[in-house]
């Protein structure tokens, strides 16, 4: 196709973005002006006497203030969890534990709308995603692990399993409720008790979950939820009476945690960063592949550890794929996360937005070509247009480092071996995607890609039944499925 011709062949999508507002009604979501720490079944004032604000990243308005837990608060929570483990939860028959977990799952479903709205308000993700993905998937996790509670002997045939004790769990801001579910559900099913710290930026749905724990009459101390920042997390990691650390977050913090617990006998599962490769072969269903790539990188503003942030396209379909990607980009609606039509919501925080902008500058400096959609952005709040970099080299930082934003780096390849080599050429190994019509090629690729998850002709599919976790700097241990139980039991 000649250059002059491609100019006249532009499809026009201005009207696709101009839909009348369809705002979710927020009256179902009750947010208190202040939240305390959830310790031993009660909301208690922090011993630190300190609170911090949590804001709506879409408007920068304050939503509420939450307690800041210090080391003394952590100690109080761990003691409550230890007592609950020894007196009640650790001894309770699996069948009885299951009833509580099922109850929690059902109550999340009953209050799904409220959870979805608060998740969107606090984190900036589109209401379509919190409503259709985060909340239902969180409920599913509780349902799934509730089912395992009385069947552990079948999960580990001919072995004796027992719980570890008290689990300290630290979760990130990208999927606040879902990550809480991923952590709490398997811990409870296996008979452990929990001290959980939600991310500093997004504590509200975890606190709402604490309300559910109360309403479900879960025995006091089984689940404790402490809000706070990095120091609170450090106090949990370093507490001597914790048996297990489950962490999801950055590779940098993951390494610190590993150093801190070295030699303590604490078990750990770490789910860290990623720089997933999505590989499109020339025999792939291209329109569906492009759609998968779009969802792979722009889902949740790209704040996904397994986001498909590197795209490898086979040379012969490269031009076509780029054109389709750009056209699809133009139809994405960036804006108020509460609008049901929003595809890309607000970036979670000012700091994250600065990080992303910095990478955009780096990409341009490295000589990559940047393409951004022409979507208008709201004047207030933290927003970033969906961005594609072409003409990227494997050695570029935008192709190597995790950006954690709506930024895609596109590279091309010629042979299957080259695709495998380039895809594996990363310090990370969390997920990958393969797009081809040929079944045998899928099996060849999946056996050679060093990633915890490989999706074929789809991307970002999550199911409680399927394990999730990384290779290399993406961490170790698996969450979800049968494998997810293994992180919370001692197998005798």
């Amino acid at each position: 196709m000649s250059k002059s011709k491609s100019n006249t062949l532009k499809l026009k999508f201005d009207s696709a973005r101009k839909l009348a507002p369809a705002l979710e009604n927020t009256s179902a979501a009750k947010i208190n002006t202040q939240y305390n720490l959830f310790i031993n079944g009660k909301f208690e004032k922090p011993l630190s006497k300190k609170y911090f604000d949590t804001i709506n990243p879409a408007t920068e308005a304050k939503l509420s203030e939450v307690a800041l837990a210090n080391a003394a608060d952590v100690d109080k929570a761990v003691k409550a969890a230890r007592t609950a483990y020894e007196k009640v939860w650790g001894k309770m028959p699996g069948k009885e534990r299951a009833k509580y977990i099922f109850r929690i799952a059902r109550m999340i479903q009953e209050r799904a709308r409220e959870f979805a709205i608060i998740e969107t308000l606090d984190g900036g993700k589109p209401i379509r995603e919190s409503r259709d993905f985060d909340v239902p998937t969180a409920a599913n996790h509780f349902f799934y692990y509730a089912g395992w509670a009385d069947k552990l002997e079948y999960a580990f045939p001919n072995r004796k399993v027992k719980p570890l004790g008290v689990a300290g769990q630290i979760i990130p801001w990208n999927f606040p409720l879902l990550m809480a579910a991923w952590k709490i559900a398997p811990a409870l099913a296996t008979g452990n008790t929990v001290v959980l710290k939600p991310a500093e930026n997004t504590p509200l749905t975890a606190l709402k979950l604490a309300e559910i724990m109360q309403e479900a009459e879960l025995p006091p101390g089984v689940v404790n939820i402490l809000t706070g920042a990095g120091q609170t997390g450090a106090a949990i990691v370093n507490h001597p009476d914790i048996n297990k650390i489950a962490f999801t977050g950055s590779t940098e913090v993951g390494k610190l945690i590993q150093q801190s617990i070295a030699g303590t006998g604490k078990k750990a599962t770490l789910e860290l960063g990623g720089k997933a490769a999505n590989i499109i072969f020339d025999d792939a269903p291209l329109d569906e592949a492009v759609e998968g790539v779009i969802n792979g990188i722009f889902f949740n503003q790209g704040h996904v550890c397994c986001a498909g942030s590197r795209l490898y396209v086979q040379e012969s379909v490269y031009e076509q794929v780029i054109q389709k990607l750009k056209d699809r980009l133009e139809t994405l609606i960036v804006g108020n996360p509460l609008d049901k039509n929003t595809d890309i919501g607000a970036i979670n925080s000012k700091e994250q937005l600065d990080t992303i902008h910095n990478y955009l500058k780096i990409g341009e400096r490295e000589g990559a070509e940047m393409y951004q959609s022409k979507a208008p952005l709201p004047s207030k709040g933290f927003y970033c247009r969906p961005t594609i970099f072409t003409n990227v080299a494997q050695s570029n930082r935008i192709a190597q480092e995790e950006i954690f934003g709506p930024v895609l780096a596109v590279l091309s390849f010629r042979t299957d071996d080259e695709a495998i080599e380039k895809a594996n050429n990363s310090p990370y190994g969390l997920s990958a995607g393969v797009w081809t019509d040929k079944g045998s090629k899928i099996f060849n690729m999946t056996s050679k890609l060093r990633s915890g998850v490989v999706w074929a002709n789809t991307f970002n599919q999550f199911d409680p039944v399927s394990p999730f976790g990384g290779y290399k700097e993406s961490g170790y241990g698996r969450e979800g499925g049968l494998h997810g139980l293994g992180g919370y039991v001692e197998v005798g």
Binding site: K12, D287, Q320, K340, T458
Partner: protein, 303 residues
């Protein structure tokens, strides 16, 4: 002949992933269409309808009434557009042409042994010419599904090209009858053949076979149109037909059209709904937007 083949790479079929295309199609239905967007969408829908009657029992009276309704959808609501076209059998074309007069409404005629297409090429061409001579502005032909499923793609291609020639100035809509092609891969292949053979529109169904139009099938066809546009810069129209009887569904189709092909296609020159009962549902919705309450269907004429 060789030259023509060289520009049509049928040897490299476009692959469609069933799960992916259905997921994408359902995503359009998540768009929430409100207020002025809804109102504009409803008016646009009316203006894109091919008001259709294709029964053996069609009477002159019925065709006349339908043509009147095409121009006067609901006179109680001032300022409504007319529909795009009326669609009838060849024997009714002259009457329809007279009835729509100078309203600007087009007369479309089915032809080529509609709906099965089980006849000889000579008869199909003669029927097409008859409809055009009677005054049809548009011809809705059916492809030979039997030949297509046999793998005789050249026959299907040549037949469409011949009918196109017989159409003269009339625009040609090519009905794939996707309900008989079954898989998305085949729908895509038939779309490519029809487009390359000269179709001005590609159309899903006759309305006589179930399933008729669905959103994923329409999406596959829209993607074929888009790929052709990418390659050649030529626009081809799309007409889903059959099974679209509710305004909400019609609005979802418009969302899909807008996001796949863009605003150049958002008019009745390039997009049509083949439907008989959709108009009244849209009218009910419009009346509701105006008055705030739904009215009984008895307040809307059935023609």
């Amino acid at each position: 002949m060789m030259d023509r083949i060289a520009t049509m790479p049928f040897w490299e079929p476009v692959r469609i992933d069933k799960v992916g295309v259905e997921e994408r199609a359902s995503r359009f239905t998540k768009r929430s269409i409100k207020k002025e967007t809804k109102l504009n969408g409803l008016l646009l829908t009316l203006n894109m309808i091919d008001l259709t009657t294709l029964e053996g029992k069609d009477s002159e009276g019925k065709v006349k009434q339908m043509c009147y309704k095409a121009a006067h959808l609901h006179d109680a609501y001032p300022g409504l557009p007319t529909v795009a076209a009326v669609c009838v059998y060849p024997s009714m074309v002259a009457l329809a042409k007279k009835s729509v007069a100078d309203s600007g409404i087009k007369v479309a005629s089915v032809a080529t042994a509609f709906p099965s297409g089980q006849s000889s090429l000579a008869i199909k061409l003669a029927e097409t010419k008859f409809a055009v001579e009677e005054g049809a502005d548009e011809i809705d032909m059916v492809i030979s599904r039997g030949r297509f499923l046999q793998g005789d793609y050249n026959y299907v291609y040549d037949e469409i090209a011949a009918v196109k020639e017989a159409c003269g100035a009339a625009r040609l809509k090519v009905i794939l009858e996707t309900g008989e092609l079954v898989t998305y891969d085949k729908v895509r292949r038939a779309s490519d053949i029809a487009i390359h053979a000269g179709a001005d529109f590609i159309k899903t169904s006759t309305g006589k076979i179930s399933p008729a139009a669905t959103m994923p099938i329409t999406l596959v066809m829209l993607n074929a149109i888009r790929d052709h546009y990418y390659k050649t810069g030529k626009m081809v129209g799309m007409k889903p037909a059959g099974g679209i009887s509710k305004s909400k569904l019609a609005l979802h189709y418009l969302v899909m059209l807008n996001e796949v092909l863009g605003e150049d296609w958002m008019n009745n020159q390039w997009f049509r709904f083949g439907a008989s009962s959709l108009a009244n549902d849209v009218l009910m919705q419009l009346a509701k937007e105006q008055t705030g309450v739904y009215q009984s269907k008895d307040y809307f004429s059935v023609d």
